[in-house]
């Protein structure tokens, strides 16, 4: 069976967590589990993950706090938040904090499976683009002086300019 990716499940409900772990493992994912926010935070900082399924309401740190922690990270996993409140303000806030999508409980496993695949695919593409841009930025910066934040911003902006010698 091929490796589909590395996933974290952060959920305080043991039955739901274990069933989800079994389902995803049978799907071919490598799964880490956390029963509260602090444990989830630790795994997020120690492991390189493709995606995280995070419950918004958890003891310790809630899902929103985890999203805030992930924001400054260079290469964060794609986050899918889970909520029992339907379209709540917390779900909207989670989206604003950079979550890929939100899923309402009781979860529809088919939907979860598809969204998880999409999230991982989306992240992969984002990372490739970032790598490419990073290379370009470095290329432009080579010919220019200045390393301050304003100059850095300028290099990034200039990378977006149309260039005649693009490789494609």
């Amino acid at each position: 069976m091929k490796r589909r990716g590395v996933v974290l499940i952060a959920e305080d409900e043991a039955a739901a967590r274990e069933s989800l772990r079994a389902l995803l493992e049978e799907e071919g994912y490598r799964v880490f589990c956390a029963s509260d926010g602090n444990e989830a935070s630790r795994i997020l900082s120690q492991q390189t993950l493709d995606a995280a399924l995070v419950d918004i309401r958890m003891p310790g740190k809630d899902g929103l706090a985890l999203l805030r922690e992930l924001k400054p990270c260079a290469d964060p996993p794609a986050v899918l938040v889970m909520t029992a409140f339907g379209t709540s303000s917390a779900a909207i806030e989670a989206m604003a904090l950079g979550a890929f999508d939100y899923l309402t409980k009781p979860l529809d496993y088919e939907e979860l499976r598809i969204q998880l695949e999409r999230a991982i695919e989306d992240r992969r593409r984002t990372r490739q683009l970032a790598e490419y841009r990073g290379a370009e930025t470095a290329e432009i910066a080579d010919g220019m002086a200045g390393q301050g934040p304003a100059m850095q911003r300028l290099y990034k902006l200039s990378a977006r300019l149309p260039r005649p010698n693009l490789p494609f």
């Binding site: 409900e13 039955a15 739901a16 069933s19 029992a84 979860l107």
Partner: protein, 476 residues
């Protein structure tokens, strides 16, 4: 009683009354002044007329004497009288209302007279008046004023005139009677008017004041209907009260709807979590069944989640009605100790000590033990959650006045304003994984026992007080 303030209604009425009395008084003085002036003018006029007439009588007499002195002086007195009568009649014809004539001193007789003869007082004046120029005197005779003027015409004779001003000095004269009567009537009317306005305003204001006071205490009160302006004011106040009552009812309805919304959201959250577990477990079971790899584990998980759902529903039902299984008087301290033991593990995790203050062994209350234990566990878990690591949660049992009181206190942040107001609301919670049912159900249980559950929170210390009656009372 101090002086009333100028802005007070009573002071204003007093000022108006004083001003009215002053106006009436000044008017009376003015009327009197006008009357006196008129009288003075009449008197002056009469005096001048009398003096002029006297002077003319004297002139005419002297003229006649110069041309015919022998004729006159030689005539007998009766003839002289007749002759002078003609003279004075001719002179005084042009002086309206003036009588006059001559007085002969040596025989003390009045001669040549025109008009009514002089009376006793007039004679006295005529005799005593200064000689050597016309002089006039005034005296009062009943309601009349009499002006008498006299002057010497020769050694022995005096010319005199008299004018009677009738009714000038009549104190009970018709004119004065009307004036005084009018004044009295207007003063009485004015004062009566002021007093009646005062009474009317005072009654009206008192009615509005008592009405407003009653309204403040009981908002269902309505001011009684009354005629006039005060009735209108009462009507407006009543309308305002009705508007406010309507607004309040609206707000209450919205509050109820909002509370219902909170409850529904809480129920949804509580029920969706086990539903989620069941669904995912069944999903797994389905896949494993298809592969022939199913075990009974998945089914057991699903069954236990269904049981959990049922417990949630039971807890919600407890919210609605008292359900005592085994209620009897018993010591409370053992319940406290059992509850403390049950939360020991959570306390240990945070390095918190539960300190049960000794005493209260004899405290008994009529309770259902498992329910009260549940309340105590809720209170202890809350205290442990709210307490910083390594602190002490203190519990004490005391009895007083037929009540058993259990206090559970902890250090930590004081409760915020919203938390204070909504602490006992169902599904209100400040904890990320809280259901918001613990305290509302605990209070419900305390109330079902005829007791209460309250809290105090200040200066970083929060204490819950569970009060339970020693003897059974009907649940409130």
């Amino acid at each position: 009683m101090g002086l009333p303030r100028l802005s007070s209604f009573r002071a204003q009425i007093v000022i108006i009354a004083i001003a009215s009395v002053a106006t009436v008084g000044l008017a009376a003085v003015l009327v009197r002044d006008v009357i006196t002036r008129t009288e003075g003018r009449l008197l002056d006029e009469a005096r001048q007329q009398c003096i002029a007439a006297t002077r003319e009588l004297k002139m005419q007499y002297r003229e006649r004497a110069a041309y015919a002195d022998e004729a006159i002086l030689g005539l007998p007195l009766s003839a002289q009288d007749l002759s002078l009568k003609g003279l004075s009649g001719a002179v005084l014809r042009s002086y309206e209302g003036i009588a006059g004539g001559f007085w002969v001193a040596d025989v003390n007789r009045v001669i040549g007279q025109s008009g009514t003869p002089p009376g006793e007082r007039e004679m006295e004046l005529i005799r005593s008046l200064n000689r050597g120029g016309p002089t006039a005197r005034v005296f009062q005779f009943g309601a009349d004023l009499i002006v008498v003027a006299a002057d010497d015409v020769d050694r022995n004779a005096v010319a005199w005139t008299r004018k009677r001003l009738e009714g000038v000095r009549d104190p009970v004269g018709a004119r004065r009677r009307w004036l005084i009567g009018g004044l009295v009537v207007s003063v009485v009317l004015g004062m009566g008017g002021i007093v009646s306005i005062w009474l009317f305003l005072r009654r009206g204001i008192a009615a509005v004041q008592t009405g407003l006071r009653a309204l403040e205490q009981d908002f269902a009160f309505r001011l009684p209907a009354a005629p006039g302006d005060f009735g209108q004011i009462a009507g407006w106040i009543n309308r305002m009260a009705e508007n406010r009552a309507r607004l309040e009812a609206d707000v209450r309805r919205q509050d109820r709807l909002a509370a219902l919304g909170t409850v529904v959201a809480g129920v949804a959250h509580e029920i969706r979590n086990p539903l989620n577990s069941i669904k995912l477990t069944l999903e797994l079971l389905d896949r494993r069944l298809q592969r022939g790899a199913a075990s009974s584990d998945e089914v057991r998980v699903a069954i236990s989640e269904v049981d959990r759902l049922n417990r949630i529903v039971n807890r919600l039902l407890l919210f609605g009605k008292p359900a005592f299984e085994d209620r009897h008087p018993q010591p409370i301290l053992p319940l406290v100790e059992r509850a403390s033991k049950m939360v020991q593990e959570q306390a240990m995790k945070k390095g918190i000590a539960i300190d049960v203050t000794p005493g209260g062994e004899e405290c008994e209350a009529d309770v259902d033990a498992p329910q009260i234990e549940q309340v105590l566990i809720n209170l202890l878990l809350n205290a442990i959650d709210a307490s910083p690591d390594g602190e002490v949660v203190s519990v004490a049992v005391k009895c007083s006045n037929g009540d058993c009181r259990v206090t559970v206190g902890n250090r930590g942040l004081s409760l915020s304003g919203e938390a204070r107001a909504r602490l006992f609301d169902a599904y209100f919670t400040t904890k990320p994984s809280g259901t918001g049912l613990g305290l509302s159900v605990s209070r419900k249980i305390a109330m079902n026992h005829g007791g209460s559950l309250d809290f105090e929170s200040s200066d970083g210390y929060t204490e819950f007080l569970l009060r339970l009656p020693e003897r059974s009372v009907a649940p409130s």
